[in-house]
Symmetry: C2
Subunit: 404 residues, 2 copies
Amino acid sequence: MSHDATADTAASPAQLNLPPDSVGLVTPQTFVFDEPLELSCGRTLDHYQLMVETYGTLNADASNAILICHALSGHHHVAGYHSLEDRKPGWWDSAVGPGKPIDTNKFFVVGLNNLGGCHGSSGPTSINPATGQPFGPDFPIVTVKDWVTAQARLADRLGIQRWAVVIGGSLGGMQALQWSIDYPERLANAMVIASAPKLSAQNIAFNEVARQAISKDPEFHQGRYADHHSYPKVGLMLARMVGHITYLSDEAMREKFGRELKRGKLSFEFDVDFQVESYLHYQGEQFSTAFDANAYLLMTKALDYFDPASEYDDDLAAALSRAQCRFMLMSFTTDWRFSPERSREIVNALVVAGKDVSYAEIDAPQGHDAFLLPIPRYMELMQTYLNRVASDLNIIPAVQGGQP
Amino acid sequence: MSHDATADTAASPAQLNLPPDSVGLVTPQTFVFDEPLELSCGRTLDHYQLMVETYGTLNADASNAILICHALSGHHHVAGYHSLEDRKPGWWDSAVGPGKPIDTNKFFVVGLNNLGGCHGSSGPTSINPATGQPFGPDFPIVTVKDWVTAQARLADRLGIQRWAVVIGGSLGGMQALQWSIDYPERLANAMVIASAPKLSAQNIAFNEVARQAISKDPEFHQGRYADHHSYPKVGLMLARMVGHITYLSDEAMREKFGRELKRGKLSFEFDVDFQVESYLHYQGEQFSTAFDANAYLLMTKALDYFDPASEYDDDLAAALSRAQCRFMLMSFTTDWRFSPERSREIVNALVVAGKDVSYAEIDAPQGHDAFLLPIPRYMELMQTYLNRVASDLNIIPAVQGGQP
């Protein structure tokens, strides 16, 4: 199953008629691990694989590597295109590329699909060696801590002793935070965006609605839908609809849809009346065919379980006391899923712990989704921070190209 | 089907071992209407009935009547007990009774179940005279305006030409507002609590998730579950879970549950881990056996459709220009379903329209649910306002009793 770890960089983006600041055509790589991985739940994965993409070039002393950790429904395909027929690039293409804030002329950028995912890394859709059938609901519950351990082994394999930066938004930011605690010597910077030190009761409640929608769908069959040649499409659709509402701000929805009617007038039937309803249906529908239901359950549990302070008498500053990296935190004014207040909890704990921390609260109407969008102020701050990282680490641009 | 419109007041609450400030044992009354009711949707209800409860005594000039309009899942049983075995009183018992803010020693208080409901008024569970079967999904979509028309006919029947006050919270507040526009001469005061002039896109989005959860439940059978001897219990449970999250503030959930674990430790299974999950299950479960699914769909559409300014070029002040009553608006600081900002939109429009309006934003951690709770400051404000109403209208306490 292992591919060679080479990016397809034979032709330049411009030659391929792709945007000049794109990383161009990229090929995912599979890394197979045979060393058993003990998980937080007590179970062990004897073998597993991670699906990975890299962009840019690792420099001679391997000091220019950036790890990008994905959020709930993300994956390894962060930037660029898989084929010339691809209509959409990777999920964070706006931030990653030559001359972009996460500049592939300077940095070697690594994206991966986390364990338990459904985009090529070992997860519920993988074959369970014990049975020869897909794991389905038998795939163990994995945690942010487990992901970080697996990511550290990936770093070993890539020859990266210390990341220049570990970056993530939302659930990805939790991984960056966990890195700073579990492998303090192995990262120089943690960039934690639109994240939280742990979920609130309200966050957990929304996740539980999503889980109930999936698991109570008659097509779920206790997670063994594959055996029944069925799929809990409706449950996953509902889960995504609820999730999606929490990703957008009230303000963003008002600006985007207001009370605009789909057919110009009220139906007076139990039908779609408002544009916002159509939009949610579309989002739910798209997602329900693209994501594995068991993997979705796993991801929500990883979110719920994240709470690094819990092992330190709920003292977040104590949990972070081992960290040695610099921290950059960012939040967005209208994000109500992980509000600025949640980021400030982390900032305050880091200040108490005497750590080097920068924090920016970015004025943005888009809600939680803002962390995925190329908001000018946000991109400028990221670029400025990463330029300083490159300068501090004496990283010299390996390749010239892209936007100035 | 019609009962006599007499309240059971033979024995005092104290004699029955009920709280002394309770309205005591009460008996719902059915009012049958044979005059056709033209609805906003264009359809007509030839006959319909309303389930009603009244407390206190209507005075000689019928000047002391208060109408209480219910919210999404409310009904006619506002206060008191239906039997000595009743473990819970009516839904607003904390506010209605002798000596309470809505003082039944002074006022004649009327509660009803709205059309389309499932607590005794004509609705989807009623028999459709055209078929001899329950209406089910064929019951027409009713609007806030339709409810107010039906309530005006009830007022006629009760001999009430002009309400001293029309009061409602949430969807109930929308009815009070509609009263002031449609029957300006028929109310002296409108008390609009934790309400909004129309739903936001986010509000509609949450309602649509609830509707999808119900209508995509395989037991729904396009609303004809009764014919199939089935019931969309899971859909209704999910709908209520989502709704319930929006009724509570993040703060209230944190205070009530935090991250408290159900069994003292994480399960590392796809099971309930946190107390907040159990609580939501319980709420959803309880509701799913107590409410009709078609009625729930109707109520959410009534919410979505409410928008009195829409007939006035979206000018709320113009819509309210016909009003002649005094207004009292109240909102709660942590309510994010209908935030204080939404109440201020109404207040501002009333100020522009030159109306007599008072407004109080009450500091309360409970979120939207606060409007149902006996929060001291809230109860005091209501009592003060209603005392002045009684005084202005020269209402003399009809009965002595209850708390001083």
